[in-house]
Subunit: 410 residues, 2 copies
């Protein structure tokens, strides 16, 4: 939780965080500032202090919204920095960081680097900064990232923002279901308002429209895949595909607050009009595992234990899984779920490669998303909800929505 | 231009590019793959070769759309990499890069790093990779970035995508103007369809909706700022502000293709119903400079010469500019324009800090956006269009739209 951050910095021997990049669509910076329309900013947060936010002079009003101490880059006139560095832009940027760190009281110690950047710039800048300030140690992370550790559990304010995104997400899903179920049908194909075959492109355009209308955005797109594509877990769907009765549709939607804030993650699998026997059978398998896992979830257990359990349950049903064959592309081929927050995928993870102890701690927000895929048979099936591990240890689906397979059409 | 890339690599002594990160909203990767819904990918492009795209097994269909040679990460089973590195995730990722580079035939030479990443991961990974492969030199850029040099001029296919975004942008602007001009007015304030005062939040929600409907997105938001906020160049506007007759509104809109493709950039300043004398006078000043600069533009000239020229023209009108006082927050306070492509701001730049020769080469796509700001007087004014420097040396506004100040209301 955010309140754990200073303690996490202490136990990891980190004296300060340096968070850089744009003010939006930049989880580390949004986490510590709340967001804000800034082209570029730098936050230097010493342990035990809320931090100083450095910003472009023109974006001072946006920076001020963070409630943090702010300081304009105009305090470090760039023309002078260029003069001091013989017009070397990289060295001028490094010199500005030296001055900002100095003003923030950070001239020695360990600094953890954060923020969404272009690698070409970030690698050049911080490699050069490290050389220029040998008394500092600049640190990156793959594992044991302290911000991700803090983010792994959410406070009440974060939960209410994710819950609101869940409400928006399920309302949009309901609008899509309503729209599909009121379409006329010709030769087994749904028709659009002009009487032409309805395509996935048209459905997706409505999804984006309804999300935008509700104040959300769709930075990672959405999956709306029918037939063969539904059998490939991350195929997003072919825009030109027509909506045909009796084919499985995997509809996976994961929007976030406008500007790049908190996400929600949700999947249903639908058949329009009716479900063929083999789709119905697959659905019943996935639904049974979904319900069994939800019923078995217990606070503070390892998330990956449920991944193993999911494999066992599917194997008892007779499906291949990645437990027996890690490279299988048929049966149960992915992990059970993941944390959701300012990243669509964040801690805790359930995958077999989770080397750290990813537990379902109180305050976690996770997805549960078992699925079965048979691309050769043109079949795919997944059910997914986002759940909150409440402080009392109970699991709560943050936005309830029916699990039905068949969308009736007229 | 993209066809210059191998030659740029040669003159900069770069043997390969390593481009990493997600498949969307990642300009370097979108530039070389065309885009595609990939959670994570790596492109290794040796000089003289189109490159190999490494991808998640589940995202093979999306990877295949690039038309490049593809190779699944499943060729490097992660469990085995973890075993080889004693369960050290960072070292396992580094080992995978070593194997991928080996398979791409890159075991020595200079590699330029690219891609949108989280700095904490990118810094850790490539610092460790550099240590593991001393025969390679990993290179970052601030200046003289070779991809940005290639991107600075566009081919016909890119122009047609930007032109299409211009068409969508101006259509949405026209829809906003139509909507405002047909609102009823009470006590000098526009009313929404429910008869309540119309707010900026409601206008922005419609902007997002219409953009989504047209297949565009708005990753950086839009500026719709009225009154005092219009006087602060990058204030995005207060959502609760009501739309009042006779106040200046700066409307700056910069959407991109859905999924994070090519951008367009456009600004108009409006007064609803009528323009007060001081707004009208300011408008005439900005319009005159806008028209003068557009008329004077010549191919292959330095972009920043026109920044100086803009300052001179505004100073003759009696306005302070950053030429005389780089820190001024009143008058003309920003740069004249910038390149537009897969980044909303890219080469060529017109700013005074442009240390490289940023010229208006054939194939460039640039904005021209003079403006005047008097925050103390609650006044701001900017006009902006996106222009293509055609192969024949002529400048073409990619989407024409009236420059009018006053939006009549009924």
């Amino acid at each position: 939780m955010k309140t754990d951050l200073d303690e996490l910095m202490r136990t990891n021997d980190i004296d300060a965080l340096l968070v850089t990049g744009p003010g939006q669509h930049n989880p580390a910076l949004v986490y510590l500032t709340g967001g804000g329309h800034m082209t570029q900013a730098d936050l230097i947060k010493k342990r035990g202090h809320p931090g100083i936010l450095f910003h472009n002079s023109m974006e001072r009003d946006e920076a001020a919204k963070s409630g943090l101490e702010t300081r304009s880059y105009s305090n470090y006139p760039f023309m002078e920095l260029l003069k001091e560095t013989n017009q070397n832009r990289l060295q001028a940027i490094v010199l500005r960081y030296q001055k900002m760190l100095n003003d923030a009281g950070m001239t020695a110690g360990r600094i953890a680097l954060y923020g969404r950047v272009d690698l070409e710039n970030g690698f050049a800048t911080f490699k050069a900064l490290q050389e220029a300030m040998p008394a500092l140690e600049l640190v990156g992370y793959q594992d044991e990232d302290i911000l991700l550790q803090a983010m792994a559990t959410k406070d009440e304010q974060e939960i209410s923002r994710i819950r609101q995104m869940g409400k928006i997400t399920t309302q949009v899903v309901a609008s899509v279901a309503d729209f599909l179920s009121t379409r006329p049908v010709r030769n087994g194909i749904l028709l659009d308002p002009c009487g032409e075959p309805l395509t996935i492109a048209e459905v997706k355009s409505r999804i984006n429209l309804w999300l935008a209308e509700a104040g959300a955005e769709n930075p990672e797109g959405a999956i709306f895949a029918i037939g063969h594509d539904a059998g490939v877990p991350h195929s997003i769907g072919n825009p030109a595909d027509q909506l045909r009765l009796g084919q499985t549709i995997v509809f996976d939607i994961y929007p976030c607050e406008a500007g790049g804030g908190y996400f929600y993650d949700f999947t249903r699998t639908w058949c329009l009009g009716y479900a063929p026997d083999e789709a119905q059978a697959l659905y019943e398998n996935v639904l049974a595992v979904y319900q069994q896992i939800i019923a078995e979830l217990k606070v503070n257990r390892l998330f990956k234990d449920y991944q193993l359990r999911t494999c066992e349950l599917f194997e008892v049903q007779g499906h291949p899984t990645i437990k027996t064959n890690p490279e299988t592309e048929a049966g149960y081929v992915h992990s059970l779920g993941h944390g959701v927050g300012l990243h669509i995928h964040e801690r805790p993870f359930s995958g077999a490669t989770a080397t750290v102890s990813e537990i379902l701690a109180p305050g976690s927000v996770i997805t549960i998303e078992p699925g079965l895929y048979y691309p050769e048979r043109g079949l795919g099936m997944r059910l997914e909800d986002t759940l909150w591990v409440r402080p009392d240890g109970n699991f709560e689906i943050l936005a309830e929505y029916p699990l039905d397979l068949v969308i009736p059409v007229k």
